[in-house]
């Protein structure tokens, strides 16, 4: 089916197939909500703390609580050590993740408060921001916060002429032909709308439309994994 230079995936997956996924909630006992999400050699931990009163007071919003998302890669997550602490990259990813999650979380019932989401990446083989969002959506649900729906995220992409989903590092580094295109996307679980979209590479509008459709299908698979983790954690509670 695939034309061009990338006809068979390095790890043998089909082009519509995600890497093996695992998800878990309640990974950090002292938090209000927490979850981990793993796909291949990429893993994200997300921790939710709050709502709690926001300080300084002038930052407070009397109409709603504020969602604050931070993202960071652990120093040993990749081959070249990452310096701990915020970087321009991590700040940007934190912000786009915050926008994505804010579209499903409703904090209007908690005025003057803040809800913190901390996303950390202990191991990385591309797709860390989308793994982070998958974990964060679960952690927010686990924190019992009002959410009108869930959210799942995937890096769709293209290697030379071939469209695919769940791009790994080797594919992200594909240089032949048209090279690699990386499209991180977050899709809401019920309305199926786009909550995060970034693109880096070269792609035609038609190909992008197809990519988004492929991403939506992949997100359905991811949602099942997220859902199962949440349901298992609470299943005997009743």
């Amino acid at each position: 089916m695939a034309e061009g230079l990338y006809t068979k995936r390095f790890d043998g997956r089909t082009f519509e197939e995600c890497r093996p996924m695992t998800a878990k909630v309640g990974v950090v006992p002292s938090a209000d909500g927490s979850a981990s999400f793993e796909t291949g050699d990429t893993k994200a931990i997300a921790v939710v703390r709050g709502p709690r009163t926001l300080h300084p007071q002038h930052m407070q919003n009397p109409r709603t609580g504020i969602l604050r998302v931070s993202y960071g890669m652990m120093p040993f997550s990749v081959w070249d050590r990452i310096r701990p602490g915020p970087s321009r990259r991590s700040e940007e990813i934190g912000k786009v993740s915050e926008w994505a999650l804010s579209s499903v979380v409703d904090l209007s019932g908690f005025p003057n408060t803040v809800v913190d989401v901390f996303i950390q990446i202990p191991k990385a083989d591309a797709g860390t921001r989308v793994a982070g969002l998958n974990a964060a959506a679960m952690a927010l649900a686990h924190a019992g916060l009002p959410m009108k729906e869930m959210l799942s995220a995937i890096a769709a992409g293209k290697a030379d002429k071939t469209l695919l989903v769940d791009v790994d590092k080797a594919e992200e580094d594909f240089h032949d032909g048209e090279g690699a295109t990386d499209i991180p996307l977050a899709i809401t679980s019920r309305s199926k709308e786009i909550a995060l979209l970034q693109l880096d590479g070269k792609i035609s509008p038609e190909e992008l439309t197809t990519s988004i459709e492929m991403a939506k299908k992949a997100c359905d698979d991811i949602l099942k994994v997220q859902m199962e983790a949440l349901k298992n954690a609470g299943v005997q509670n009743g």
């Binding site: 649900a141 729906e149 869930m150 509670n237």
Partner: protein
């Protein structure tokens, strides 16, 4: 037909479909669907649908019993930490006796703990009261943090679990809906035993047949079910505990 079904739902999940259903807490309507607005247990009772959270932080509600600690003293009341967002306010007018504004510290000092009732929840904060019987300052014993979602398990059906613990250890056990438990007895060893039992319950809260398991756990600890005299006298604490049940 008063059918009642319970299932774990996630945000955005359709709980049931039909115009006859009414969304309550934690649910909303999307056309003919009733959809979960949070993660938790969906309860459908006489066409009324609500989702009860099973995890997450504590949100005070009017009428809740809380175990809290004084973190600040203002000119007209006390600020209480209850383990939630912000602090609760206990006005000087909401305590059991008249307190002169010069002797507020003598009545309740920094770090002292109280059992209070939530009488109002506003955007700006939570107001508390301890005028009623069964509420007031607590001394001695220890405070355990179990989290708000474990509270129903610790209390048990009609207070059965908490009674079992009390009978086994002879300690008073007061459960606040804010997920704090005050354990107080004559002997610290027994208080620690009580703590162990409560921790066993919180760690196994999701397991079916919990009561029997707790019974065995108590037996394995070598504790007998002897009813201590102290419980009979202290009906106030019992009352506070009972009020925790919904």
């Amino acid at each position: 037909m008063a059918e009642k079904t319970r299932q774990i739902v996630i945000p955005g999940e359709t709980i049931c479909t039909g115009n006859e259903f009414l969304p309550g807490d934690g649910a909303y309507r999307d056309k003919t669907d009733i959809v979960a607005n949070r993660y938790g247990i969906a309860n459908v009772f006489e066409k009324h649908v609500k989702v009860t959270p099973v995890t997450g932080a504590y949100y005070p509600r009017r009428g809740n019993t809380m175990i809290a600690t004084i973190v600040d003293i203002t000119f007209n009341g006390w600020l209480l930490d209850f383990g939630g967002a912000g602090n609760a306010f206990l006005p000087v007018s909401e305590v059991s006796r008249y307190v002169n504004k010069n002797e507020m510290k003598e009545f309740l000092d920094f770090g002292e703990s109280v059992i209070v009732k939530v009488w109002d929840v506003k955007a700006r904060g939570v107001d508390a009261s301890m005028k009623m019987r069964g509420f007031g300052k607590i001394e001695g014993g220890m405070i355990l943090t179990v989290g708000p979602n474990k509270v129903p398990r610790i209390i048990g059906r009609e207070g059965s679990m908490v009674k079992m613990i009390k009978d086994a250890t002879g300690c008073n056990v007061t459960v606040g809906q804010n997920g704090k438990v005050w354990v107080s007895g004559n002997d610290t060893g027994m208080e620690v035993a009580t703590k162990k039992i409560i921790e066993f319950i919180t760690e196994n809260a999701t397991i079916a047949g919990l009561t029997a398991k707790v019974e065995n756990f108590i037996k394995d600890m070598g504790l007998k079910n002897n009813k201590p005299e102290i419980i009979a006298e202290n009906t106030d604490e019992d009352k506070a505990t009972e009020e925790v049940e919904n």
